[in-house]
């Protein structure tokens, strides 16, 4: 089970009729051809123009003809191999599988006050170790667990994150992009002999900037898989209606898909439906809203029809700590993803939106992920599981099933046993200090950190990873993206004898 994702053994939830899917598809084609998208990248525009798109260079606007859209959708693999550093963690993304990944956060939280604060280098590396140990974390998303950590200049956050994940995990890795960081990310991956999933992110509505297009070129040209995202907020950067939001999201991610297929036909693509509504009180995204589930269920159905793997909206809760609200917000998200055919979902560890993450939350999420995975497998119905002969043999009370071989054989595969849920009786619970799942999660974290030793890189791989980091540091210093002062603090933080794991 670990590393392979969950398999759904029943038909996915279908919330749209065929006519509704067709209407959304037609709307998408119309927007792509009539309005088009703004692409601030001349090479990208030229490539699209050579392939039949209408390009207005003054407005940097490209209009994509329906025939090209449909051709590129056909060229996109319906599932793809995502090889990990340890092949037992490699994935096949697509079809009826759901692979779960880490939901990142900008900062960590203090476990007493639940207030956010920047993570330290050690907390970042420990966070990766915990996630490496959790069986339901199938791969890592970009800048996980944290967007950066103490004393690392912002332009190095993406690469320091990847280095930590390559060092402390053998699972499949995904990266983002920032100031050409993908050049060094690809180099780092090649040095270690692994493949990584890149990202091209649109800026809704209907725009994509230079850095994102560069990232698409670099990953597609290197023959690496690419994740295409557009993080819309309905009512702000997309229509307030879910159907309208799906049309603009489709137009954005499909424009990216067309670009990638023109750069390198057959490029492995994972599109992401990353949507939320505007919180009409604060203007922030309304993380955890049930409308996100509707959006995703519909998008999952559409992309199954397209035959393109799809990544669901990250399971970001709006609560500030693991509590009742956080649990239902996350549970609705993952359950909808599992039922409606999402292929991936960023799930573990997010405490509040994309602002905070904590390994304890990831440990709690490991249980609910396991529960959904168990549900997705469905139930076996055959002579043995129907147990008609046994039912006849046991008969009415005083007969029972506890002492039967059938029970001993089957119960463990039929039940899911959570690792940190409180399942004690009242007397036991009172005698053991009234502990709750959060207490057990903390104990499990300590146990993992004491016992789980991620498979290390070879000395030469380690040298290569550090070499690429050093090259990037020099590059950004020369470009003026790291100041003298930042560099001095950064260098000082690397002086520990236990570098890179501690400062």
């Amino acid at each position: 089970m670990a590393g392979k994702g969950f398999t759904r053994n029943f038909r996915p939830l279908k919330i749209l009729t065929e006519e509704e899917i067709e209407a959304i598809h037609r709307g998408t084609l119309e927007v792509l051809w009539v309005t088009g998208v703004r692409m601030e990248h001349e090479r990208g525009l030229k490539l699209l123009e050579r392939n039949g798109c209408k390009v207005d260079y003054d407005e940097m606007r490209v209009r994509i003809p329906p025939a090209l859209v449909e051709e590129c959708l056909r060229k996109t693999p319906s599932s793809f191999h995502a090889p990990a550093r340890d092949s037992k963690n490699s994935l096949m993304v697509g079809g009826n599988t759901l692979c779960l990944a880490v939901a990142p956060g900008n900062h960590t939280v203090d476990l007493d006050t639940w207030e956010p604060r920047p993570a330290t280098r050690k907390e970042n590396y420990d966070g990766v170790t915990v996630l490496d140990a959790l069986p339901t974390v199938h791969f890592f998303s970009p800048y996980t667990p944290y967007f950066g950590f103490k004393d690392v200049p912002p332009c190095m956050a993406m690469l320091e994150s990847l280095a930590a994940r390559i060092r402390n995990s053998t699972k499949f890795q995904c990266v983002g992009f920032s100031n050409d960081s993908e050049i060094f990310a690809i180099k780092m991956a090649q040095a270690v002999g692994i493949e990584i999933l890149g990202t091209c992110a649109f800026a809704p509505p209907l725009a994509v900037y230079r850095d994102a297009v560069e990232s698409a070129f670099r990953f597609a040209e290197a023959g690496l898989p690419l994740r295409i995202i557009s993080g819309q907020v309905m009512g702000g950067t997309a229509p307030a209606t879910i159907a309208g939001g799906i049309v603009t999201n489709n137009a954005e991610v499909i424009a990216g898909l067309v670009l990638a297929q023109l750069i390198n036909p057959g490029t492995r693509i994972l599109v992401k439906d990353f949507s939320a509504s505007v919180n009409m009180r604060s203007g922030a995204p309304a993380f955890g809203g049930i409308e996100i589930c509707l959006h995703n269920a519909a998008s999952n159905q559409i992309f199954q029809k397209y035959g393109v793997p799809i990544d669901d909206t990250t399971a970001y809760p709006n609560s500030k700590m693991p509590d009742y609200q956080s649990s239902y917000e996350k549970a609705f998200r993952i359950f909808t993803a599992g039922l409606s055919g999402a292929n991936t979902l960023l799930f573990h560890g997010s405490v509040h939106g994309e602002l905070t993450h904590h390994p304890i939350q990831a440990i709690l999420d490991d249980d609910s992920a396991g529960m959904v995975g168990h549900f997705m497998e469905g139930l076996a119905v055959n002579d043995e599981t129907l147990a008609i002969d046994l039912i006849k043999e046991v008969g009415p009370i005083p007969g029972h099933f506890l002492d039967k071989g059938h029970t001993r054989k089957w119960w463990k595969s039929e039940q899911f046993i959570p690792k940190v849920a409180d399942r004690l009786t009242y007397p036991e619970w009172m005698n053991k200090g009234k502990k709750v799942c959060l207490d057990y999660a903390r104990e499990r974290m300590e146990e993992i950190l004491a016992t789980h030793k991620p498979a290390p890189l070879t000395p030469s791989q380690e040298e290569d990873v550090e070499g690429v980091l050093e090259e990037a540091r020099k590059h950004y210093k020369e470009k003026g993206l790291i100041t003298e002062e930042e560099m001095a603090t950064y260098r000082k933080s690397m002086k520990s004898t236990n570098y890179p794991y501690e400062q």
Binding site: F147, P154, G236, V278, M280, R281, G283, A284
Partner: protein, 214 residues
């Protein structure tokens, strides 16, 4: 007639009607209605919206919609104020904008709207505003307060650049500087030498009042 025009101007703002607001503002100018009175009417309208938002009866689309209607009428009335050489009582003049490289508008517009509703004269420079444009805005409008927004950690440092540009121009001490936005913290505001920070739009209004001593 004058009352009817002003009543319609107010209705247009409360009714989120951009074209209507501009039309009634033009009409007010044509009919030689005191432009200060027109601007006061508009402030009353936006205050009504701001109060509704504060009470939780109205929502962000209402606030932003009314602000857009007000913005379409304001330049027309302001031009008339300039033409007749009138002056208006105000808590202070604010230059507001989202810094260069950042195109997030909602938080900045909320603050601008609530400041206007509270009686400040607000000049909204919009989004993606360069340090140079802030400097020009401060000089042109003789601002008492500079308010800057940045939502992203990557654009927050731009606020420091603006403050440095002000120092270079020798106008840093002519304005009170308040900063906000998702990427900003009190610690950051202190580190760049801002005079104030608040994480919420209503809090920003209180802060602005404190900064101008009102």
């Amino acid at each position: 007639m004058s009352t009817e025009v002003l009543e319609n101007l107010k209705k247009a703002i409360i009714g989120y009607d951009r074209e209507g607001a501009a039309d009634w503002a033009k009409k007010a100018v044509q009919e030689k209605i005191d432009p200060i009175k027109a601007l006061d009417t508009m402030t009353v309208a936006i205050r009504q919206i701001g109060d509704g938002f504060g009470k939780g009866e109205l929502w962000l689309p209402d606030l932003v919609g009314a602000a857009a209607a007000m913005t379409s009428a304001t330049p027309i009335i302001e031009e008339e104020i300039k033409r007749v050489g009138a002056t208006r009582k105000s808590l202070g003049t604010v230059i507001i904008g989202t810094v260069y490289g950042d195109i997030h508008t909602i938080g900045k517009t909320m603050v601008a709207t609530l400041l206007t509703a509270s009686g400040f004269t607000v000049n909204d420079l919009g989004i993606n505003v360069t340090a140079q444009s802030f400097v020009q805005g401060i000089n042109e409008y003789k601002a008492d307060i500079l308010a800057m927004s940045a939502l992203m950690t990557t654009t927050a440092p731009e606020q420091r650049k603006v403050i440095e540009a002000l120092k270079k121009e020798g106008i840093r001490d002519t304005v009170q500087i308040m900063v906000g936005g998702g990427a900003i913290t009190q610690e950051f505001a202190d580190s760049i030498g801002a005079d104030g920070y608040d994480p919420t739009a209503p809090g920003a209004v209180e802060l602005a009042r404190r900064l101008v001593g009102k």
